[in-house]
Subunit: 228 residues, 2 copies
DNA sequence: CTTTTGCCGATTGTCAACAGTTTAAGATTC
DNA sequence: GAATCTTAAACTGTTGACAATCGGCAAAAG
């Protein structure tokens, strides 16, 4: 029982109201409860969460820096709307970073890690067979997270996570298209195969291609920035 | 005289105290007035800048998210200290991003942009001939900034600028070593040559190599993460 | 002599109130 | 009826004050 107390205290020790609120807002954005362009009312939020405006303002300044909201002086903070151009730019960056992750991981991957990644791919296969998008999505997330984390560059992992959060500002999601699930997991298997073969350049190329195909599923294969 | 008032008001209109303070703190870090590990006292800062603690706290939350400071609950905000491992990780990310910038720029670069880049390299040549490190450094900065900006991915440019700011948390700087100036500008010329040749893969490789050589000048050529 | 305990100053976390700005509705004019 | 001006409500920016917490120092216990 002292375990619970300790963990509770530990939590309380490292978390100010500001950080709790920031995470809460991030999750609200991730769950789509706050849609792009929407303005968030400091007073209403303060009342809803039972705190004063101070911590909320501090949390919003953090969200601003991580690109999740825009702050306009004297008008308020708005959930950021990713237009097509910005989304395409993010995909390009994301492709480069995932490519780097694959290149880093391939030479140092352990058999155990390969097994874990294989497990994720098989999970997604099962979800695909059941046509269950809701369990495909988290598997996909864990697969990509594992690759960047196993790569050993923790800062890269944090950066990828931040970009992933920012992607939720897009209304349309690549994987929402049912047909994409099968080809997406084929790509996952190709990535895994290059990693298991300890092939840095191959893993890099496979991961880059995977991200860019996702982008093309959104914007069309031309690769140009769509306007707005 | 009304000009001053107007411009001051115009500034006031688009900039909250928070954003002004954040920029001020960023510049203090960039100029080295705040050294790594140092704690910043909210009351003292508030008194020094003539504002209350609220905007200062908000600014610090932004700095936290951009990685320039650490915030420890109930103890305060500390200028972040980049240990060797984190710095090496940042260099890897930076190399990938600059490589991407080169790959994007090469196919679309204009003759005028090539001329501008050539100008920067010649400026650095002159600074080098004069042994003037203080004018080599800003030339170097503008050269790299121009490459990412001409590449057209504005988000990438912002990301590179953020990483560059974070690099100032390192005490030792690559270019501080006088011998590095010459070889560094040789690399710049190689980069420029690949861009002018409209060679995406070559520009990417040259830029990646340039960043990694900088890293090796700091950490040695092994490429492993030094401990602490 | 070392360790523990209790206190005090300093500093941060949070809050409620005030001041200035924006927004929107209503009144007024053409 | 449309456009403009007026005015009030709502909201954000900022401040000062209060409560909670931390680090250090001195006294007491072992």
């Amino acid at each position: 029982m002292s375990l619970d107390i300790d963990s509770a205290l530990q939590l309380r020790r490292n978390q100010s109201l500001t950080s709790i609120i920031r995470r809460e807002l991030e999750q609200m954005i991730e769950r789509g409860e706050l849609s792009a362009g929407e303005r968030l009312n400091e007073n209403a939020l303060a009342a809803k969460l039972g705190v004063s405006r101070g911590p909320i303002r501090e949390a919003c300044r953090g969200l601003e820096q991580s690109g999740l909201v825009n702050v306009v002086v004297n008008r308020g903070v708005f959930i950021r709307a990713l237009d097509g151009r910005e989304a395409a730019e993010l995909y390009e960056i994301r492709a480069a970073l995932y490519g780097l992750a694959g290149r880093l991981l391939a030479p140092i991957v352990t058999d155990q890690q390969v097994a874990i990644l294989t497990g994720y791919v098989e999970e997604m296969d099962a979800a695909m067979a059941a046509g269950d998008l809701n369990s495909f999505y988290p598997g996909n997330l864990r697969f990509h997270e594992a690759i960047v984390e196993f790569g050993g560059n923790m800062r890269l992992a944090a950066e990828c996570a931040a970009i992933h959060r920012e992607m939720h500002l897009l209304r349309r999601r690549t994987l929402d298209m049912p047909g994409r699930m099968a080809t997406s997991n084929d790509e996952h298997r190709a990535i895994l195969e290059r990693i298991a073969a300890r092939d840095p350049a191959g893993a890099e190329a496979a991961l880059e291609e995977h991200v860019l195909i996702s982008r093309n599923a959104l914007f069309g294969p031309l690769g140009h920035y769509p306007d707005a």
